[in-house]
């Protein structure tokens, strides 16, 4: 999954760094806030560990190799932000010492393997594990599925980064300048080995480590699972609430990952571009219904109408730009709605607590 230099255009690499840099600074702040000096040796050792895990390449029939990353395990044990740093450092070693992954494409590799993989993997793990005790069997399954889904999302991201190159960057004679494969070719090519071999490796590794820690050293799981009981009969602490920012970021992540799929879909849905495109024959209609005709195009002030620029230039670029704008707008809306819901809920709870206290005083 390591993308070497030369496969991606410098502008794509710049976007990779632009996404990675805020994550790095947030990760550094979040991780060093917990315990200041303790994290440095811990992260160093875990980076070395990730590097070793990535060295275990499993041969794949088509001539390349797949490997586990270990990012999900680190995310489960130490938290996603620690995983961002640990995997990033491991990737830097590979780029500088062994030429595995490039220097310009380092940012993109970090986005795939050090950001998307641990966050998606941990999200799936938490979703499946729920509030089951730390020694429960469901956590092993959750870690396996988390690892599997995480590495596949990372591979999908890499496939998308490859696949948009020939659409965005070609010379005047139509020769692709960077990776020559289109999305329809890169997505199956990356998905196949990762859905089968690499995904399985990451799943076995994640599940194996969690199962071992449950048996031998469950203490190591406690710090990153606040409020989760260790054994079956232990008292459960009240669950933490989803904060508005988390809900909004979660939505935006999913939306960003799914957006490029739209480039693959042919045609429009239900004549959204023009009612004339509708296939009315099977319905026994010969003309577009009057109401549809009248109100279609009622709103003609869209900023990015048809997900593109008004002159229709750079269709794919415009599509991605529209997606970015759309995701930010909807993410902000979700943040607002979630904030309001939280405000209302906390008010209501505040009222309830007061009455309880009143009763106690009485």
């Amino acid at each position: 999954m390591h993308i070497p230099d030369g496969y991606l255009s410098p502008s794509t690499c710049a976007v990779g760094y632009a996404v990675a840099i805020p994550f790095w600074s947030l990760a550094a702040r979040k991780v060093s806030k917990v315990v200041r000096t303790r994290n440095v040796p811990m992260l160093a050792v875990f980076s070395a560990l990730c590097f070793l895990i990535m060295m275990f390449n499993v041969p794949i029939p088509d001539g390349t190799t797949a490997h586990a990353v270990g990012g999900v395990v680190v995310a489960i044990c130490l938290g996603p932000w620690a995983a961002v740093i640990a995997v990033s450092v491991a990737l830097l070693f590979q780029a500088l010492l062994f030429g595995d992954g490039g220097v310009l494409s380092y940012g993109v590799n970090v986005v795939n393997m050090a950001i998307i993989l641990p966050f998606v993997g941990l999200g799936v793990y938490r979703l499946i594990a729920g509030r089951t005790p730390l020694t429960g069997r469901r956590r092993v399954l959750a870690a396996a599925v988390g690892g599997y889904v995480g590495i596949n999302f990372a591979a999908l991201a890499a496939a998308i980064e490859f696949g948009i190159q020939p659409d965005l960057f070609t010379s005047s004679s139509g020769v692709p300048l960077y990776s020559p494969y289109h999305l329809s070719q890169t997505i199956p090519a990356m998905a196949l080995p990762h859905l089968t071999i690499a995904g399985l490796c990451e799943a076995v590794l994640s599940a194996g480590v969690i199962a071992y820690l449950q048996r031998a050293d469950v203490r190591r799981l406690v710090p990153n699972h606040p409020g989760i009981p260790v054994h079956e009969g232990d008292v459960e602490v009240a669950p933490g609430r989803l904060s508005p920012a988390r809900v909004a970021i979660g939505f935006m992540t999913v939306a960003v990952l799914l957006t490029p799929l739209g480039l693959l879909a042919p045609g429009g849905a239900f004549g959204e571009d023009a009612p004339a495109d509708l296939d009315l024959g099977p319905l026994g209609l010969h003309t577009v219904p009057a109401g549809l005709e009248k109100y279609n195009g009622f709103w003609s002030h869209a900023v990015l109408g048809g997900y593109g620029f008004s002159n229709g230039d750079h269709a794919n670029l415009a599509y991605i730009l529209s997606a970015v704008v759309g995701i930010i707008v909807v993410g902000a809306a979700i943040f607002l709605i979630a904030s309001i819901v939280r405000l209302v809920l906390s008010r209501r709870q505040g009222v309830g607590q007061e009455t309880d206290e009143d009763i106690a005083h009485a």
């Binding site: 030369g6 550094a28 160093a44 980076s47 450092v89 310009l104 010379s171 076995v204």
Partner: protein, 310 residues
Amino acid sequence: MPDAAITSRPEWLMSGNVALCPCGCIGKRSKGSFLEKTLRGASDPLRQTMFSEDVARQPGILQQADPRAKLIGMIVLLVAAGLVHNSLSLAVMYVATLGLAAGSRLSLGFLIKRVWLFVPIFTAIVVLPATLSIVTKGDIVLQLWTWHGEPQGFTRQGLLTALLVVSRVAVSISLVVLLTITTPWTKLLAALRSVGVPRFFVLIIGMAYRYIFLLLETVTEMYESRTSRTVGAVRHDKAARSFVGASAGALLGKANHLSEEVHQAMVARGYRGNARVIDEQRLRRTDLVFISVAILSAAAIVVGDRFLGR
């Protein structure tokens, strides 16, 4: 027998085993698992690193330049290699990297082998399908077969793309290899600091570099101790899977334990969250010249490439 007189080891331990026929006609040859092979091959990175520390000490153009100047120069040239649209420009850049290697007293054979054996062969395999008309439509240069009456084969556009991608990857890797092999790792880290990588990260990178080898040794020992306790052939069953999971988990536990001990040792030696470096280096005039030459040649390559046509 002077050897036998010195050592007190029993005779049977010193004598070699009865050799089985290497062709496999007597006995059964074991192929070994990928895990075993990976572990055996794991000493390679160590050897490579030791080698690069040796090369970094030799006198040469690149060895004399400041690591920061080299790092900045490399990034500028990498961007230039990314921006050019013509294989000819990339060929010029590649020849220039070979010239630099020769000036730095590196063996050209080593650089060529390191670059052309490792990744670009992988790259060439990856881009090979793109040379065919089934992936890249265009003017067919060499017809291989027909499909529904349509001739299929290598296309001019596909071959050009493949040439472009492979040569770009080769130039990029050569540049990175030139930097890393002529710079001691510690100085490279200091250089990362100067291009804006925060101290926190540089510290982690430096420490992780040391622990790679330590953890590698631990993994090898764990595997060896397991195999020494195993009688009979290794099977790839549930027990094998749980062994892999358990050794990864045990390694995680060991790593955690190690990091706690290291932390205590660091705090005991006065670490309070600030890393200090002993030798602050200054950029000399020759380093500024080095950076300017890198920027000018990058600019010349990009401008020259525009003249060649897009």
